[in-house]
């Protein structure tokens, strides 16, 4: 994993040093010596300071240690990458617009669950003890709470105006949901009415957001 990168680096350094030794031109040799830190078989203190591996490059032990060091660095880098990927996945889930969408869907779901609950499990009068065990209603309440949290989370980043505008899609989603899951028939007149309300809610977003901020 981290190995090839570290090995390639040190091997290329050693190869460069070998090429320098083979060169016959003095100017080039001087240049090579300067670049590799070799002067008369000795390594000066300044050369060591300039060398990022803190030692002569032709020494196999230091080459190995540099490989090990590089490997550790690479492993750390990979671990950081893995963490970043995990964080980016999480941040994708906590993306404000996704949270806004989740909030809208959960609102529609909550309404459908409440409707199923009151139709199948709710008994009148409302204070009957068995109503406490109407689990569809409890699920509906949980969905409302979830939607509220998503909404609040989304509002940390999304402007209230946009959030209010997008909330208009609630009306469409609830209509589709009640047609799909509750089997309600939606007449064309009702469809027009729902569309008009959704349009109205969409356009009132700016004013409603301003009022909400002031109230």
């Amino acid at each position: 994993m981290g190995w090839p990168h570290g090995l390639t680096l040190s091997a290329s350094k050693n190869l460069r040093a070998a090429r320098c030794v083979d060169d016959s031109g003095s100017a080039e040799q001087a240049q090579c010596e300067k670049s590799q830190g070799i002067r008369g078989g000795r390594v000066t203190e300044s050369d060591i300071n300039q060398n990022p591996y803190q030692g002569p490059l032709l020494n196999p032990e230091s080459a190995m240690s540099s490989v090990t060091k590089k490997q550790t660095e690479s492993d750390n880098f990979l671990a950081e990458c893995a963490e970043e990927t995990k964080e980016s996945r999480e941040s994708r889930f906590f993306h404000p617009y996704l949270q806004l969408f989740i909030s809208v869907v959960l609102t529609a779901v909550s309404q459908i669950l409440l409707k199923i609950g009151v139709d199948t499990q709710f008994v009148s009068p409302w204070y009957t003890t068995s109503n406490l065990f109407a689990f569809w209603i409890w699920f509906g309440i949980l969905a409302i709470i979830g939607s509220l949290f998503s909404w609040l989370f989304a509002l940390k980043s999304v402007p209230l105006i946009i959030a209010f505008n997008l909330a208009a899609t609630n009306h469409i989603m609830v209509a589709i949901g009640s047609w799909l899951f509750l089997g309600e028939t939606i007449s064309s007149q009702r469809r027009i009415g729902i569309l008009l309300v959704a349009l109205g809610v969409f356009f009132v977003g700016r004013s409603a957001a301003r009022v909400e901020e002031r109230l």
Binding site: V118, V174, L182, I192, G193, L196, V204
Partner: protein, 112 residues
């Protein structure tokens, strides 16, 4: 829908809006002055929301969801009127158009 049920729908929506305003007051920094006031706001919010929720449940038992839900759009109309009455905000022409649009929409749904 009879007038009684229409009033009940408006009452439920009004309770929800009132609850939201109470919660907002309780959570905002300006109302941190007295703890008692904050608690009262929270209690008022919970009470209004609960009453609104149970009224909504009662209405859901009687009407279709696709019929009842568009009336939720009236909360924006109530909010606009609340701003006009309490905050003395101007009702602009655009706002009037939107309010009328929502009212016509709910009337369409009510008649369906």
């Amino acid at each position: 829908m009879t007038l009684f049920f229409f009033c009940l729908v408006v009452f439920s929506v009004a309770c929800s809006v009132t609850g939201q305003i109470f919660f907002k007051h309780a959570m905002s920094d300006q109302s941190m002055s007295t703890r008692t006031r904050r608690r009262l706001d929270l209690a008022g919010g919970v009470l209004a929301m609960t009453v609104g929720f149970f009224t909504w449940l009662a209405l859901l038992r009687r009407f279709d969801l696709s019929y009842l839900y568009p009336f939720e759009g009236l909360d924006r109309v109530l909010l606009a009127f609340a701003a006009w009455l309490i905050l003395k905000e101007k009702m602009t022409r655009d706002l009037w158009v939107v309010v009328i649009l929502i009212c016509i929409g709910t009337a369409f749904v009510a008649a369906s």
